[in-house]
Structures are given as C-alpha cells and as structure tokens.
C-alpha cells in the first residue's frame, strides 16, 4: 500500500510536469490544470485515510515547490481539500471515468476557493485573478482527471484490493 502511495506521488509529479507544458503550449492564460486536485480525489478514493492524507500533502508540497514561489500555501490547501474530499467521496458513487472527472472538477473548485480564501485572508493580493479563473481551471482539471483516470485505474488494479479504500468497498 505504501508502494501505491509512492507511485501515486510519482505519477502526480509526472502529471504536474506534463500539465505545466500543456498549459504553456496551449497558452491558457490564467487557467490551469490542477493535477493536485485530481491526485487528492484519487487518493481519497483509492487509499486509506492516513496514506491519502500523506499523498495529498505530498502532492500539495510538490505543487508548492513547482509554483516558483513556495510559501507553504498549497500543502495547506491540499490538506484542507483532502478533508472536504474525504467526506465527499463517502457520499458519492464514483465508478466511471466521467464521474471521476466531474468529482475532480468539483473538488478543484473547492481547492481554488480555499486557496483564494487563504490568500485573501493573509496576503490580500492577487485573489481576484484566482476567482475569475475558477470555472476554466475546474473544467480543465476535470479534463485532466479524465486523462489521468486510466493511469490511476491501472495503478489501482496493480495493487492489492483488500485495502480499506473507498472505491472498492
């Protein structure tokens, strides 16, 4: 299970690198593909709570480092998002790629709103651009979730299914 966690983090690292290139190539402006939200959703669906929390933290931490100006914001936002997502996945049935993508979009909205709230609360600058980009970023993240679903699904199938993950319960 720990190997699955590590592999999940590695996949998220790869996905972030790819997303940064895609954003650059497509010239998406303020909109982004927030791989961290996808990773959090997958972690909540496929890992137990502790490992899901660690995975989310790791994804947030990598995202923070790759943001170019690390402040510790994104690990915090990732963990808060994880908390919301962990509650959410217990209430929804996600067994289809489309459902996974929609959940990624919704969780990304939460992720962005939390980031906006924390920035507005402690920095009070640059918050408006985040709000304006939320719909586009959530949509792109949903598409990113759709693209990453086969990889995560294969990862799930490769490991033991006896773990107490939500998706296989």
């Amino acid at each position: 299970m720990t190997a699955k966690l590590v592999l999940g983090v590695v996949v998220s690292l790869f996905a972030m690198a790819v997303a940064s290139v895609v954003v650059h190539v497509l010239g998406l402006g303020a909109a982004r593909i927030e791989v961290v939200a996808v990773v959090i959703v997958w972690a909540c669906l496929s890992l137990d709570t502790t490992r899901a929390a660690l995975c989310s933290f790791a994804a947030g931490y990598l995202f923070d480092l790759m943001s170019g100006s690390p402040t510790g914001l994104y690990p915090l936002v990732a963990m808060l998002t994880f908390a919301v997502c962990r509650v959410a996945v217990a209430m929804v049935d996600v067994s289809h790629p489309a459902g996974f993508a929609v959940l990624c979009g919704v969780i990304d909205c939460v992720h962005q709103l939390l980031a906006w709230g924390l920035i507005a609360l402690f920095v009070q600058a640059g918050a408006h651009s985040i709000l304006a980009a939320i719909p586009a970023t959530a949509s792109l993240t949903a598409l990113g979730g759709l693209a990453l679903y086969p990889i995560f699904h294969r990862l799930d199938l490769a490991f033991d299914r006896e773990e107490s993950s939500v998706i296989y319960r």
């Binding site: 690292l13 790869f14 972030m16 690198a17 790819v18 940064s20 290139v21 895609v22 190539v25 137990d48 709570t49 502790t50 929390a53 660690l54 989310s56 933290f57 947030g60 931490y61 990598l62 480092l65 790759m66 100006s69 690390p70 402040t71 510790g72 914001l73 994104y74 690990p75 915090l76 963990m79 808060l80 994880f82 908390a83 924390l118 920035i119 402690f122 920095v123």
Partner: protein
C-alpha cells in the same frame, strides 16, 4: 498515550499535516520562504525529472507539429504545383504568341520589300502522302491565289502553289521530287537547277555546268528565269559537290535555307498587277500588327 495515538492515528496525521503547512504559510505567506535543505533535495531530485519530461513532451509536440506542418506543406505543395503548371502553360502560350508576332512582323516587312504583290498565309496542315511533299495554307482563290504562285518566307523559297480551293491551297515544297527551281550562285552567278530529292531536308543540284564555278557553301538564289520565283530569293547552300571527271554537269546537294518542317507562316507572291486586293489586305494587316492586334487571327485570315 501510544494506544490513544494509534486509535486516532488518522486524525493525528491529518491534523499534523494541516498544522505544519499552516504554520509555514502563516510565517511565509507575504514574502515567501527560503528553501530548506529538504526542499532543495526534493527539487534536486525532481528538477531533472521535470526537465526530462518537459523535453519529451516538447519533442512529442514538435514532432506532431512537424507532422501536421508537413501535411499542410504537402497540400500546399500540390496546390503550388498545379499553379506552376497553369502558369507554365500560360507562359508557353505567351511565348508562342510573341514568337508568332516576331515571325509575322518579319514576314510583313519582307512582303513590303518583294516586288510582286503578296498574301500572308498561315500553314494549316501538312500533306499526308509521303511521296508528295506539300503543306496546306489557309488562303485560297478568294484571296487571289492561283496555281503556280511562288510561296516564300523571309528566309527563302518554300515552294509553289499546286492546287487551290476557295479558302485554302496546297503548296508543293521544293523538296518534292517533281519540283525544280532555276537558281544561280550568289557568288559566281553560275546557273543551275535545284531539284527536289523527296527528302524533307535536302535538294539536289542539277544542270550545273562543269565549267561553272560552284563551291561547297555557296549560297544559291533564285535566278528569276522560271517564271515562278522572282530573282534573288535564297534557296540554300551547296554541299557535297561531286567533281567527277566524266559527264556534262556537276552534281551535289543543296542544304535548304528554310527548314520546311517548321514553317508556320508564308508569303504567297502574285504576279505584278494582279494583287491589288491582297496588297491592301497586307497593308491593313501590317497596320494591325503595329497596333498590337492578335496576329494569330489576322494571319489565319480573320478580319480584325
């Protein structure tokens, strides 16, 4: 205590993982944080990975872009090739028209120089019979043409009219075996006859007196004694003279002044006094040429 921690492990881990970045963010939110050794280690490990991945992704994108670009270039190439063919065809037509104009100008200038009235005519076909070398021209009896009239170009003699219909005529070429033209050497003024050989490019020198001064390369011009061709028109050059001791006359070949296989426009020479209408037409044609009218139509007999 330990059992309590184990019991609430999930909550504790989650709490710590929230509290830790929260504290970090609180202290570094405004000015950013300096990277600690762990951050540097992570970046050291992930940096090359990210760069490598970026290289791979950009390479894939470039390859795809090149492929799409090549497909676009291929389509563009096909379009441009079609355009080039079209332009080459247009250019060929223009070149052809230009050359035709030049030839007709020469012909008309020549028509003004010859003493007899003349009619410009376009070659519209070649005789199909292999044993009768002829061409067909697009002028006929309606233009004043009659059997026996001389047909020439500015370069020299072509032949004579063999048969005439209302709007076209057949010209017996001087290379035809039954053709004979009275000639003289431009250099020595010695007289002879040029006969057709049946070969499309050569004639035979005949009735050249052995005592006469003929040399290879001499230019033969019409003598004006046969009642068909006026004096002084180029016929060809003497070649392969046969200096046999026996016989009354010299024999040799004549390389023609005019390449009969490529003639496209000719001048039909009338007899003095019978070509006033034709002269008037040529005068009008010449004026039209200088005015830039389409000579292809004019030379085919179409009134501008």
């Amino acid at each position: 205590m330990l059992s309590l921690l184990k019991q609430y492990r999930e909550l504790v881990v989650t709490g710590v993982l929230i509290a830790l970045p929260f504290a970090t963010y609180l202290s570094h939110a405004k000015h950013g944080k300096n990277l600690n050794p762990f951050d540097r280690a992570v970046l050291t490990v992930t940096g090359p990975l990210e760069r490598g991945l970026n290289t791979v992704v950009y390479s894939a994108i470039d390859t795809w872009g090149s492929y799409v670009g090549l497909r676009h270039v291929r389509a563009q190439n096909l379009t441009l090739r079609a355009k080039v063919l079209e332009l080459e065809a247009q250019n060929g037509k223009l070149q052809e028209a230009k050359l035709e104009n030049e030839r007709l100008r020469q012909l008309l200038d020549f028509a003004r120089q010859v003493p007899a009235p003349s009619v410009v005519a376009q070659v519209v076909g070649t005789g199909l019979a292999p044993d009768f070398l002829s061409i067909r021209i697009g002028r006929g009896a309606a233009d004043g043409l009659r059997k026996g009239m001389a047909v020439v170009t500015p370069r020299g003699v072509v032949g004579k009219i063999q048969q005439v219909t209302a709007h076209q005529a057949d010209v017996e070429l001087i290379t035809d075996a039954s053709s004979a033209v009275a000639v003289e050497s431009q250099k020595s003024r010695a007289r002879a006859t040029v006969r057709g050989s049946g070969d499309a490019h050569l004639c035979k020198l005949d009735y050249a007196e052995r005592s006469a001064l003929f040399e290879d390369g001499d230019l033969l011009i019409t003598a004006g004694t046969d009642g068909i061709f006026p004096k002084g028109l180029a016929v060809g050059r003497v070649s392969h003279l046969d200096h046999q001791k026996a016989g009354f006359s010299l024999r040799g070949e004549v390389t023609l002044a005019v390449d009969l296989s490529t003639v496209e426009e000719v001048l039909v020479l009338g007899e003095a006094g019978d070509g006033a209408p034709a002269q008037a037409r040529n005068g009008a044609l010449l004026e039209a040429v200088h005015a830039g009218a389409p000579l292809r139509l004019l030379s085919a007999g179409v009134t501008p």
